[in-house]
C-alpha cells in the first residue's frame, strides 16, 4: 500500500513538471461589465447575507476558462486575447481578464 501510494505521487509530480515545461495554460476570467445588472450575483449576495455574512458590498458572478496549449502555438497569450475577442466574451455585456 505504502509503496503504491508513493509511486502514484511520483507520477503526478512528473506530469506536472512536464506540463510546465512543454505546455502553457492560459486562464481567462469573464465577468459581466459593471454597467450590466448581474441578478445571479445579487441572489448569491442575498443568500450570503441571510447566512449572516456581513459587510459584503457586491457579488459578481463570472466564468473561468482554462485553455491548455500543446506547445505548437507561438504566442499563447496573444491567441488567448484573440479567442476572448472572437468567442469567449461578448463585448456587449462582458469583460475579460487573462490571468
Amino acid at each position: 500500500m505504502e509503496s503504491g501510494k508513493g509511486k502514484r505521487q511520483k507520477r503526478t509530480t512528473d506530469d506536472r513538471r512536464q506540463t510546465t515545461k512543454r505546455n502553457t495554460k492560459i486562464r481567462v476570467v469573464v465577468t459581466l461589465k459593471k454597467s450590466v445588472l448581474d441578478p445571479q450575483g445579487q441572489t448569491v449576495q442575498h443568500a450570503l447575507e441571510s447566512l449572516g455574512f456581513k459587510g459584503i458590498a457586491c457579488v459578481r458572478m463570472g466564468k473561468y476558462i482554462e485553455v491548455a496549449f500543446n506547445g505548437k502555438s507561438e504566442n499563447p497569450k496573444q491567441s488567448a486575447e484573440k479567442m476572448c475577442k472572437k468567442l469567449l466574451a461578448n463585448p456587449v455585456i462582458e469583460q475579460y481578464e487573462i490571468l
Partner: protein, 268 residues
C-alpha cells in the same frame, strides 16, 4: 414561398416551424443542416428556437460560427428575409446581425407562458399584417408564448436610442390592453423589448414563439400574423414576377386563405 429552416444540434422548435409553414400555411420548406454551405434558393431563412450547442458558453455563441451562418449572414446582408425566434434571436445577436445581447432572466428562472405583445412598428416585412384588425379600432396585442431562460434583452444607451430612432423596436411585452407595464415584462428586458429588427428591416429577432401560436387548437393563432406578414411581403415583391407569369398560383391562394382566416378570427 420557400422557407429554409436551419437545424443546429440542439434546435428543438425546428419541426414546429416546419409544421406551421408546411402543413398550416402550405408553403415549401427546406430543412438546412447547420453544416451545409448553401441556402439553396430559399426566400426566407428561419433560425428556430432551442438550445443550440447546449447553450454552452453563451446562448447562440457557438452556433453563430456554424458553416451555414456564413451563408445566412451573406443572405441577410443582401436583403434576404431572416427571422430568428428565441434561440434564433440569440444567434442573430451573437452574429452581430442585430444589436444588443441577452442576459439571464431577471428572476433567474426559465419562463414558459403566454404573454401579450404590442406591435410597435407595423411596416416591416414581419408585421405588416399586425396592424388594425378587421373590426377593431386599433392594433390588438398579440398573444404568443415565450419559453426561455435568457431573454432579458440588453443594449447600451446609445444602441437603444438608435433602435428607437429607426423604429427598430418591433415587439414590446405589454398587458392584455396593450399597456407597457413592469408587471407585463416577464424577464427584465430593457424597456420591455421582446423583438427588434435591423435598420433595413429584413432581419427580425423575437423571443416569443409565433410557431407555437399558429393554430387556434393550441390556444392562439396570433403567430400567423407574423408568418402572414412575411407571405404578404413576398407576394407584394413578386407582383411583377406574377405579371410576367413566373409565380405559381399556389402562393396567391394561400395569401387569400390567410386573410380569410384572420378576418374570420377577429370578427368573433
Amino acid at each position: 414561398m420557400k422557407f429554409g429552416i436551419v437545424v443546429f444540434p440542439g434546435s428543438n422548435c425546428d419541426h414546429d416551424c416546419e409544421h406551421v409553414l408546411r402543413d398550416v400555411l402550405k408553403q415549401e420548406v427546406k430543412m438546412l443542416w447547420h453544416k451545409e454551405h448553401s441556402l439553396e434558393d430559399v426566400d426566407c431563412v428561419v433560425l428556430p428556437g432551442g438550445f443550440s450547442y447546449g447553450d454552452y458558453l453563451r446562448t447562440g455563441a457557438v452556433a453563430r460560427f456554424s458553416p451555414i451562418m456564413k451563408e445566412v449572414i451573406q443572405f441577410a446582408h443582401k436583403g434576404g428575409l431572416v427571422i430568428g425566434i428565441c434561440n434564433g434571436f440569440q444567434i442573430l445577436l451573437e452574429a452581430g446581425l442585430l444589436p444588443g445581447a441577452m442576459l439571464r432572466n431577471h428572476s433567474l428562472k426559465f419562463i414558459c407562458k403566454f404573454v401579450y405583445l404590442r406591435v410597435e412598428n407595423t411596416e416591416t416585412p414581419f408585421t405588416n399584417a399586425c396592424g388594425e384588425d378587421v373590426g377593431a379600432r386599433r392594433a390588438v396585442p398579440l398573444r404568443i408564448p415565450i419559453a426561455h431562460g435568457e431573454g432579458n434583452y440588453f443594449a447600451d444607451e446609445a444602441t437603444l436610442k438608435r433602435l428607437k430612432e429607426n423604429n427598430q423596436v418591433i415587439f414590446r411585452y405589454c398587458d392584455e390592453n396593450g399597456q407597457i407595464t413592469e408587471e407585463s415584462n416577464p424577464n427584465g428586458s430593457i424597456e420591455n423589448i421582446a423583438g427588434i429588427c435591423n435598420k433595413e428591416g429584413n432581419i427580425l429577432g423575437m423571443m416569443p414563439h409565433p410557431e407555437r401560436a399558429s393554430e387556434l387548437e393550441l390556444g392562439s393563432a396570433d403567430g400567423r400574423k407574423v408568418w402572414g406578414s412575411i407571405l404578404n411581403e413576398w407576394n407584394d415583391k413578386s407582383q411583377l414576377r406574377k405579371l410576367i407569369g413566373l409565380s405559381s398560383d399556389g402562393t396567391k391562394d394561400v395569401s387569400v386563405r390567410h386573410d380569410d382566416y384572420l378576418s374570420k378570427n377577429n370578427t368573433t
